[in-house]
Symmetry: C2
Subunit: 216 residues, 2 copies
């Protein structure tokens, strides 16, 4: 979670059990899907406070507006999570990694986190280098099941690999996308229907300076 | 293993089953205990070739010289492993992390690898900063069992923490040790008799440059 204390307030009225379930699900897809350097902090925590001041009826699991509330909560947490990733020590770019075609959601999450956390991928993003071998290598060691003969990769909107091998796409278009401040990768594992998204940031000389040049 | 192809030759005569067991045990304590950035390579491999040219009797598990051969093999592999860690991309210092007092060998290995692989620890080593909180944090998230009230830490020969809290040691002595090219940490988990050692290197601006400034 990048050393985070998150406090989210709402004037909705929430049944405590529903609030707990909703927050857990949303945090798993947002704050638990960001990584700066893989290190974790004992501070990492997220609180949801609901005071019911809106006067609207109390939401529980079965309420017709429950899903709308969860979506709104996810929108807030996604926005905060992306901002934190983009604000990682020394970061110059936000990286978004979407995994599709996974055999299970657990696999999709593992693969997304491995790619976004790989120092080699992070350094390649810093150099705007469409080094797709590093991306597939991270998927490979993540432990997620993947069909190497059906795996595909997009950098931005450009498909770079299909059925496990390079397409004829010119690298320059991928490089141009990677020169921006928000770099998107999508990897399809070629197996199932599960997906997940993770966010991180590039690895820069600034990260090293920020974490080595001050004294405790 | 840091993208390694290792070929080790000997003129001893080895029973294949013994050669396999000996190599596996030694590799687990040496090449499998180094990390540069946590990324892995499909090249990583180690071959042991024995041609029997010495004319000495064939060694097997039960032979009186078997243990001597394993120790010699371990000495060779430890030397190579340390040299590879010290030669990591952009590295300026070798880091050695010894874990003692672990409840199991698996725990000791997990903790040693977590500390030596932590980007924050690696950056602190680069800055010769005795940031012991980062070391304990990595032990904490490694998944290894630790008794926080009995944990202890040494930087070089200086005991920095005892029973989970800082000693009165002055940081300057630790800093002087960390300014050298070989930095040693020992963490005692305060539980059992198991131990393990891992090797890595500091994280430098040079690592970032080397992995971002060239194009595929």
């Amino acid at each position: 979670m990048a050393t985070m204390l998150a406090f989210i307030g709402t004037d909705a009225s929430l049944e405590p059990a529903f609030a707990r379930t909703a927050l857990k699900a949303v945090v798993d897809n947002t704050f638990n899907m960001i990584t700066v350097d893989g290190d974790t902090s004992t501070n990492d925590s997220c609180f949801l406070l609901a005071n019911g001041q809106s006067g609207a009826p109390t939401l529980n699991e079965g309420h017709k507006d429950a899903e709308r509330f969860v979506r709104a909560l996810e929108a807030v947490c996604t926005d905060l999570a992306r901002k934190m990733a983009a604000d990682g020590e020394g970061a110059e770019k936000l990286i978004q990694v979407e995994i599709t075609g996974a055999a299970s959601e657990a696999d999709a999450r593992k693969a997304a986190r491995a790619v976004v956390g790989s120092p080699l991928v992070k350094a390649a993003v810093h150099g705007a280098d469409p080094n797709w071998g590093r991306i597939f290598a991270a998927v490979g060691y993540s432990g997620a099941q993947v069909d190497p003969l059906r795996a595909a990769l997009w950098i931005g909107n450009l498909q770079i690999a299909q059925n496990g091998i390079a397409t004829r796409a010119t690298k320059q278009e991928a490089r141009t996308h990677m020169e921006g401040t928000e770099v998107k990768f999508r990897v399809d594992l070629g197996l199932g229907a599960a997906s997940a998204t993770a966010w991180g940031c590039d690895l820069t000389e600034g990260y090293v300076v920020e974490n080595s040049a001050y004294s405790t």
